[in-house]
């Protein structure tokens, strides 16, 4: 086909699309009552809080980085913010604060909601924001050790897959890892990932044991430098990297490839080794909750982070500490949502003296706890009648 004809057809298609979009806009615009506009007030919030994923080429199904991109999604933005689903941080605001929490302030939240409810005006056309490009680099800078992963190809008919790789580090001496990160090769399809040290030992709920899970990667998160501690990798350790791939509708029917890299940030000097304290409930049926369980510390510990077990993807958790004197502190309340299981790093380590009781209340969402349905390639899900497990990442006080 000659290129002029192609160009004419393409132009005709664009015109048709523009007309239909224009009609849609006309039908969906609300009267403009918002004192906030996209160019002046909303874009800066979207860029700072949402621009890591909602950008062309990002993992989110839609970009919000131009007025034309964001306008049709106004009602979705409103619903997601009010429900607390977006930004994807599912710990409720409370007295204990967390690092790298991608949240909106109350004022920012209100600005977005007023804008959406008040007709989503664009603002001064002279102030159209500059294009936002996908940030595709290591947020903490070049890692000390970069380990390339094999290439993965998703066939045109595949929409979702999980791949697990075992990667040798080939280190000749034990190393201390401050932080681990993943740099997706094709960010638009890498949905989440875990990076662990391969180990043959099994969990002993009664004892502290070295934490082998180096990182839970979710899009938009910056890696956290543990600072107060680190992960010790033995000589020539292997890493197990599991990546969950998913295409958004933009890539349906297309073959997609990815070659991601794992990055490790090392410490020259030995660190306080991060250990895992597992709290386990008795076996529980998903329809028979809430279930509460607890553990009393036999030594003083500093708690750096909390995470639910990876199998738990639809539940509500509330962790409380009770001092020996009976003083209760709410540590974290969260909804665990599919795809967004993560490690919650405390802004400042929690010092828990010996004798502190850690209580967990878990509410499973009935059959939803067992989602996704059989046949999905997603990571292991909660099995009805098994225990609920949550983990604290701790260091011993030095």
């Amino acid at each position: 086909m000659t290129s002029p004809i192609r160009r004419q057809l393409a132009l005709a298609g664009l015109v048709t699309l523009a007309v239909s979009l224009n009609v849609q806009r006309g039908e969906t615009h609300k009267p403009i009552t918002s004192k906030y506009t996209y160019n002046e007030d909303v874009f800066p919030v979207l860029r700072e809080r949402c621009g890591r994923c909602h950008v062309p080429g990002g993992v989110a199904p839609m970009s919000l980085m131009t007025y034309g991109d964001a306008f049709p999604w106004g009602e979705s933005i409103r619903a997601e913010i009010i429900a607390g689903h977006m930004p994807p941080w599912h710990a409720e605001p409370g007295p204990v604060r967390f690092r790298n929490a991608p949240t909106l302030t109350a004022a920012e939240m209100d600005r977005m909601l007023v804008w959406v409810s008040g007709g989503s005006p664009q603002g001064n056309p002279q102030n159209v924001p500059p294009p936002v490009l996908l940030h595709h680099d290591w947020p903490m800078g070049r890692p000390d050790l970069v380990l390339p992963l094999p290439e993965v190809t998703m066939s045109p008919d595949a929409s979702e897959t999980v791949r697990e790789f075992t990667i040798p580090t080939r280190t000749t001496r034990p190393i201390w890892v401050r932080s681990a990160d993943l740099l997706p090769g094709t960010p638009s399809i890498v949905r989440n990932a875990t990076i662990s040290v391969k180990t043959d030992t099994t969990d002993d709920p009664g004892r502290l044991r070295p934490e082998e899970l180096l990182a839970i990667w979710v899009p938009g998160d910056d890696p956290v430098d543990a600072e107060d501690g680190g992960f010790r990798l033995p000589v020539s350790a292997d890493l197990v990297v599991r990546i969950h791939y998913r295409k958004t509708y933009s890539y349906e029917g297309r073959e997609m490839t990815d070659r991601s890299n794992v990055g490790l940030y090392l410490s020259e000097s030995p660190l306080n080794e991060i250990q895992r304290l597992t709290l386990t409930s008795p076996p529980v049926a998903v329809t028979d909750t809430p279930v509460s369980f607890e553990r009393t510390l036999t030594e003083e510990l500093r708690v750096l982070a909390f995470r639910p077990d990876q199998s738990l993807t639809n539940a509500r958790l509330h962790v409380t500490t009770v001092s020996a004197a009976g003083e209760r502190t709410s540590v974290i309340q969260l909804s665990v949502r599919p795809d967004w299981t993560r490690r919650y790093w405390f802004d400042r380590p929690l010092l828990l003296p010996q004798g502190t009781r850690v209580e967990v209340l878990a509410v499973l969402n009935g059959a939803d706890t067992l989602l996704p349905p059989a046949g999905s390639p997603l990571p292991p899900q909660f099995v009805d009648g098994s225990p609920v497990r949550v983990m604290l990442d701790v260091v011993r006080n030095r």
């Binding site: 224009n22 009609v23 806009r25 006309g26 039908e27 969906t28 615009h29 609300k30 009267p31 403009i32 009552t33 918002s34 004192k35 906030y36 409103r78 913010i81 009010i82 607390g84 409720e92 605001p93 409370g94 007295p95 604060r97 302030t105 109350a106 004022a107 939240m109 209100d110 909601l113 007023v114 409810s117 008040g118 007709g119 989503s120 005006p121 664009q122």
Partner: protein
Amino acid sequence: MAVRLALVLCAAVGVVLGSISTSVSARQQGQPADIDLPPMSWTCPMNGVALPDGTMHADVYEAEKGNCPICNMALVAVRLDTIWTCPVHAVVAEKHAGACPIDRRALVPMTVAVSWTCAGRPEIDRTTPGSCPDGSATVVKYTPRPHGNHNPQHGGQFFMAPDNWHHLEGALSQPRLVRIYVYDNYTKPLTRDRMRPVEGRVITNAAAAGVTRERSVPLVLSSDGRYLEARVDGLTLPASLVAKVRLKADGPEHHFDFTFTGLSEEPPPPQASSAPVQTPTTPVQIPTTPAPVPTGVPARIDVPIPDTVDEIVAQIVERNRRIGELIDRGRLTDVWLPAFEAKELALAMGAHAAEMPTYKRTSLEPAIQRLLRAAWLLDGFGDLGNLAQVVAAYGDFRAAVSGIESFAQVPR
């Protein structure tokens, strides 16, 4: 200060309400005219009008001047604002809540289009204040808008139907006599012909000897076609009941919760000197898809912010009490206003963070966020008349207010 209006709400620039007269002064001093004016939209004059193909022209609002994407007519500019007016007949325009000078009932908020005209020159209709051809100052004019009036007209409880076009009011007119009034998108009663296909029933639950029995009483069109009526024997106050109403023959049955703590008080008849607000031509056909609905103008909520945290907290607690009272009285449509006022007050607490000890400061932002989310939830559910949703949202709101109370210096 109140200004009575006929046909449209007109008031002299010198005596109307705060922000508008301020804007006029600004223009006269050579400052930008829209300093404090409501934002402007462009809308189609054919919104809601029947089209030759039997469908209805959808509501069109655009951010910029241009032509209607449906009928190609030139879009016209409109500015929306909230005024406070008497609940039913005579019209008063105030900037803040207060009492109606006619019947002493509390003023109610109404969304209107605001524009400027000249005395004796009704053809002049501008989106900014200024000078008239004779050199006099323009006068402000308010025009009703679709969904601008969500206030009961018969002392009952007023809801918006899920089709986003009809409105419905339930009133307990006499003991055991439930009346359902149905309105269009301008809160104008449906004509008798339009009322004829409307049907429904009233459902009550009576508990006796530990057993709850559901009773369903059909709603019957009154002889004058103004309302549907059901006589519910054995109804005692306070009464909770559900109206299930089908607004068109092949449409779904909608659910509306009513709570009556007393008989609905029919407003006194209008005084001779006051005239009704003019409503534009009533659309003749119900839209098949929901139109966007401005249920209020949250950006135009003007709540005075006290100087101290304790006073702000007290005001928020008062709004919380008011919401609870509104829910108890079944006035779900009204909860958005105290909810949004509380939200504005809570946001203003952020400015006092520096005065607080660290342990309080870190908890302030989460407390404000919780209240803000709950306020928007109440706004979303209030209009739809589903009590269970509103009560659930109010549970969140109350919890958020409890959190806010801890910031008072003097424990409450």
